[in-house]
Symmetry: C2
């Protein structure tokens, strides 16, 4: 036990999205897959109960605010195969899941680019109240051109401006969440507590403050409408692998959602930048999207993997990656550059992020993150947990967002086969601590952001108040 306590514990999230086809394109069509029931409450209630039965930390819910329409110059391919379209709001499934669970957390993706901060601040405070401190926010800035056009713009906001806007957005939220209401502002003394009729005070107004924010992008008066919730600021997730993202993550994130071959480098750079920003290197954790296909025997694993792969959509991957040409129509030995030239698309904004000198075949058939790469494993429980331990100890990650191939088989397999083995090896705790907030569970600290976090600067001390 002493030895196992010293081991790094796995942050264990389920990766979800309120849509039929999230990240394993084509697989919604698998027999007995419940993904097309994403519109029903029953789907989410079953998912939440199952995740909590397996001790998951949270369900992490992705989101996009537009349709993928670069591949094929149209949303048609995305719609045809249900690639993240249609989709529904990620936040509204949380209260229902909270009603049937006690401990499970919820990470909600929300973009700082299109909606006003004041309304979002209240929504997250509401959720933090309703869940008693079980919510996190996955801070994103959006990148789909169609999303921009759905919110009155001609095209996506340039990256630098999106990030500047996000930085100010976060400041506004920190002021509302941390600075507007003092801890003891709510008095809430009804007569039942012995006062006379008429003397009841709900709030001490001297302890509630306007924020009067005036910035380049936002003007927000305040005060915050919600009284302080258990965590005040929800747990801050931030998804990034790019240098711009690293700086913002280092300043703000408690958990960085990253991936790709450069995970170690992103981790080291982010921790260094966090220290630079006055935080501790340990204030930031790193999670990756991971794929696990498991079973009781090697044969079962192989069969399952073969079945899953047989439903995978090659076109789905191209849609999701916004590949700006019809890669499936070119000979496989043509280079990506040649194909783009033939289609007159070398200058397309979407071409900038493509590897130009590989062949089209390599692009199409190359390692799909859903089926390979560092954070994928197919095997019996021992093999899987060996891999997860390697990810924790050698790749330097702290946790995973578990990709789903089949709902609910992927989750059920993980709960029944992998979690017991992880517990045997001391990599996940035996159970939940009653009353613990998501932040306490993920960071080992208190329910609120530590003093080293920039949001803490907006708190009012008793002396200032």
């Amino acid at each position: 036990m002493t030895e196992s306590l010293a081991k790094k514990q796995l942050i264990l999230n389920l990766f979800e999205m309120n849509c039929v086809g999230h990240i394993t394109h084509g697989l919604w069509r698998l027999p007995h897959n419940h993904r097309s029931e994403y519109k029903d409450l029953a789907y989410w209630l079953e998912l939440a109960r199952l995740a909590e039965s397996g001790g998951f930390d949270a369900i992490f819910i992705a989101d996009v605010l537009g349709a993928y329409d670069v591949y094929g110059d149209s949303p048609a391919p995305a719609l045809l195969e249900g690639i993240q379209a249609p989709n529904n709001d990620p936040m509204l499934v949380v209260p229902a899941m909270a009603a049937v669970t006690e401990h499970l957390g919820f990470g909600i993706t929300f973009s700082t680019s299109y909606e006003p901060p004041f309304a979002f601040a209240r929504r997250m405070s509401t959720l933090d109240h309703l869940t008693k401190g079980r919510v996190g926010w996955n801070v994103v800035t959006s990148y789909l051109p169609n999303a921009a056009r759905n919110f009155g713009l001609d095209a996506e906001i340039p990256k630098a401006e999106r990030y500047a806007r996000a930085a100010e957005y976060l400041d506004v939220l920190y002021k509302l969440w941390e600075g507007s209401w003092e801890d003891d502002a709510v008095v809430a003394l009804p007569e039942a507590d012995g006062l006379e009729p008429g003397s009841g005070v709900y709030t001490d107004p001297a302890k509630v403050h306007a924020i009067d924010h005036e910035g380049a992008h936002f003007r927000v008066a305040g005060p915050h409408l919600s009284e302080p919730s258990p965590q005040r600021t929800p747990v801050l997730f931030l998804a990034t692998a790019s240098p711009d993202g690293v700086e913002q993550a280092a300043r703000n994130a408690e958990v960085v959602f990253t991936g790709g071959p450069a995970v170690k480098a992103v981790g080291a750079a982010t921790r260094a930048a966090a220290v630079e920003a006055g935080r501790s290197a340990d204030d930031v954790s790193f999670i990756v999207q991971a794929g696990v296909v498991t079973g009781r025997t090697d044969e079962e694993v192989a069969e399952k993997l073969a079945l899953y792969r047989s439903f995978a959509s090659a076109q789905g991957k191209l849609v999701h990656r916004s590949v700006p040409f019809d890669a499936l129509s070119h000979p496989k030995d043509r280079t990506v550059r040649e194909a783009l030239e033939i289609e007159g698309r070398l200058d397309h904004p979407g071409a900038a992020s493509l590897p130009l000198d590989i062949t089209v075949g390599q692009l199409v058939d190359g390692v799909d993150e859903a089926w390979g790469g560092t954070f994928f494993v197919a095997g019996t429980p021992t093999v899987v947990v060996d891999a997860i331990e390697r990810w924790l100890d050698e790749e330097g990650i702290d946790g995973i967002n578990l990709r789903q191939y089949h709902s609910f088989d992927t989750l059920r397999d993980f709960v029944e086969l992998i979690v017991p083995e992880l517990r045997r090896r001391g990599r996940v705790r035996e159970g939940y601590t009653p009353g613990e907030t998501l932040r306490e569970r993920l960071t080992g600290g208190g329910p609120r952001l530590p003093e080293t976090h920039p949001a803490a600067a907006y708190r009012r001390t008793a002396a200032e108040a």
Copy 2:
């Protein structure tokens, strides 16, 4: 039975708000009142179960996006007594209530003034999916100066512009909800239905349309992100008693939430304007906020009423009405005009809606809508239902939003004492019809807006598609 079927049926909603002090100011302090638990899921789950056990049509949830800060030139009086501040988001309690009910509807207040229509459209579609067609939208344009300042403006948007903006907002939503996805756009044929791997189609892209809205206030490309929900457009509630409101209600509302002495006139004017706009006079129903204090005996009623009134806050009413002077500090026989003059506030925008020639005493002590007026009754069940029948048959209303004095006593009293008597008299149905949407229940029509509604103009016929 035949006779009772011909009687006008009561639309029965519970009036709520996600805050400690909604409309019966001061009463959160009553012994055993659960209102200060508004932050807890348990409060909302209990409320929903109780309302459904009594056959209520819906819980109608009010909202404001700022603090009342005209009275006392500060939000302090509102905060002190918990007058609609602090408050939490109204939409986020709905999925949890939906998870523990099957039939109960939910009317959600949302303002067209501050948040982008595209995100709201998806939120309501999501709720309509999750509830299987049990949601309504209470369309408001907001009026609190502080709300405007929370969303980047200097002061509230002038009324005419608010209404113009609301009209376009509704158009955008109608295009997204009714026009973007054809009824048979979702095909959703997985292999389980007999197709080969790879052949599954989720959506027929030819039946999904961008809306490409370009207007004075909004530019929205689309397509809508959500697939068609049971009702598509949620049931449209619209709160108004003013002439500007009547026109918008006549064009759009299915249920008008009105009040005051002019209910009949508003009803007649709205129905006439609805016919003018090409709709039927019967396409619009009228509900009012109503107060009911009841008990098994006259003594019980009198005791309850006296107890409730002893906790009522006079200042709360002035805060809520945004009275722009300290009415409680003036002699009672001074006129409102004189008091305003003394305070140099005759020109205050808030003075425009005050009756200037009554005395301050009349203003302060005058009939509080919470305790009197046309749609208030205190009495045993027979007395109460006599009054409700009068409201239906003589005042011309179709239903009520039941004001709460005490949570959950007001609702429990109504369910246990009033609903049985209403059923005996054929004024509410015996139970719910399984699978019925809120629209079907409230309007007697189909699950979707009738063809006479302006939103129907955005639907695509097979020929156009």
